[in-house]
């Protein structure tokens, strides 16, 4: 029977290729090329580099992730986080300084489904006329 208080730690000098599955909390400071499936909470440390997807209950991100993140509860991006991929969660907290390129599907007030597709891109509008294109900045163009 696993100890509920135990935490699996992948230290910064460890590199793993493959999928990690865990029922307990996980902390990754090293490199992972593969997916992380964690039924509990995960911490992606500042030195961590993950090339793969994450399926977790909640995750605190301080390192680099190239892949999609699906959290049942919460994604917490600290200022050092770099995420290239789509995220889906029930709750989200983002600190200033993050690098994030991808799609986000976070709706705390509505029902958040883990398998929900990412937000569809906003339909492109026809190219604006020069006068319309200047809106929001045209007033300051003479500065």
């Amino acid at each position: 029977m696993p100890n509920e208080n135990s935490q699996t730690i992948i230290s910064s000098d460890v590199q793993i290729t493959g999928t990690i599955k865990s029922t307990g909390p996980v902390r990754i400071d090293g490199k992972l090329e593969g997916d992380l499936v964690c039924a509990a909470d995960a911490v992606i440390g500042r030195s961590a580099v993950i090339k793969g997807g994450l399926q977790v209950n909640s995750v605190v991100i301080e390192g680099t992730i190239q892949g999609n993140i699906t959290a049942k509860d919460k994604i917490d991006m600290k200022s050092t986080a770099k995420v290239h991929g789509d995220i889906s969660a029930k709750r989200l907290a983002v600190e200033d300084g993050v690098t994030f390129i991808g799609r986000s599907e976070v709706n705390p007030t509505g029902s958040a489904s883990a398998s929900a597709p990412a937000a569809a891109p906003v339909s492109e509008t026809p190219p604006a006329s020069p006068a319309q294109d200047n809106k929001g900045g045209g007033l300051f163009g003479r500065r």
Binding site: K74, K82, R91, L92, A93, V94, E95, D96, G97, V98, T99, F100, I101, G102, R103, S104, E105, V106, N107, P108, T109, G110, A118, A119, P121, V122, T125, A128, Q132, K135, G136, G137, G138, L139, F140, R142, R143
Partner: protein, 239 residues
């Protein structure tokens, strides 16, 4: 020749300069005077430093960025002035704050603030001000805020008629923009939908929801804020 200046009047600026000088160089002592002896256990009283810091913070007159609605020139004015003259076009600028709570069909231009109250209707003309709060109805004309525009829940408007540097969507308000819009800072407490590019920071507060697309260097999402969007957040200096 003595470098000392004697002043019979002490204004706030002189006080600030004196405090800053004292903080950087320490207290003035005559060159011939022996250095003060310190008791071995004595420590400088912390109150004096705190007081100096407080004076330095509070006594500085505020600097206001003024945007001339006549010629478009931008300049700074320190403190409060009775009459504001644009240094470029030499025209007197209105500094008053206005509240529109009835039908309005004329232009209102000021370097102050305008509030279009819940019962206010803008039929035509232009509203130009530093900060504009929209809680009424815009049926025609244009609205340009040289700094910030705030949209409240009761506002009825066409987003194409709005222009501002900063955008604030108040709690409970829903705001949908068509096409790509550029802002400096965006504050979301209600619902904001559209394609945005921000040169400054974007903050989604708890209870707020940002939808659509967003490009910019800074993003902050408070816990409880919603984000259903395609994002490209790259802080300056990162690739």
């Amino acid at each position: 020749m003595s470098a000392l200046r004697k002043s019979t009047e002490v204004d706030s600026l002189s006080l600030v300069r004196a405090v800053r000088h004292a903080r950087t160089t320490g207290p003035d002592t005559p060159p011939s005077a022996p250095p003060p002896e310190k008791p071995p256990d004595s420590t400088p009283p912390p109150e004096s430093k705190e007081r100096a810091a407080r004076i330095g913070r509070t006594a500085l007159p505020p600097k206001n960025e003024i945007f001339c609605y006549e010629c478009g020139y931008s300049f700074q004015a320190t403190g409060r002035v009775h009459a504001l003259l644009c240094p470029k076009c030499k025209k007197t600028l209105d500094q008053a704050d206005y509240t529109i709570d009835a039908e309005c069909a004329e232009s209102v231009r000021t370097t102050g603030n305008i509030r279009l109250a819940a019962g206010g209707v803008l039929k035509s003309g232009a509203l130009i001000a530093r900060d504009i709060v929209l809680a009424g109805r815009i049926e025609g004309g244009t609205v340009k805020a040289t700094r910030r525009i705030e949209i409240e829940p009761a506002a009825v408007y066409d987003p194409d008629l709005l222009a501002a540097q900063d955008l604030t969507v108040a709690a409970g308000a829903e705001c949908r923009f068509k096409g790509k819009r550029l802002f400096r800072h965006i504050d979301v407490r209600g619902v904001l939908d559209g394609h945005f590019a921000a040169s400054g920071g974007v903050t989604v507060h708890a209870g707020g929801h940002l939808k659509g697309r967003l490009q910019g260097p800074h993003l902050v999402v408070e816990e409880g804020g919603g984000l259903t969007a395609e994002l490209e957040i790259t802080p300056p200096g990162t690739k």
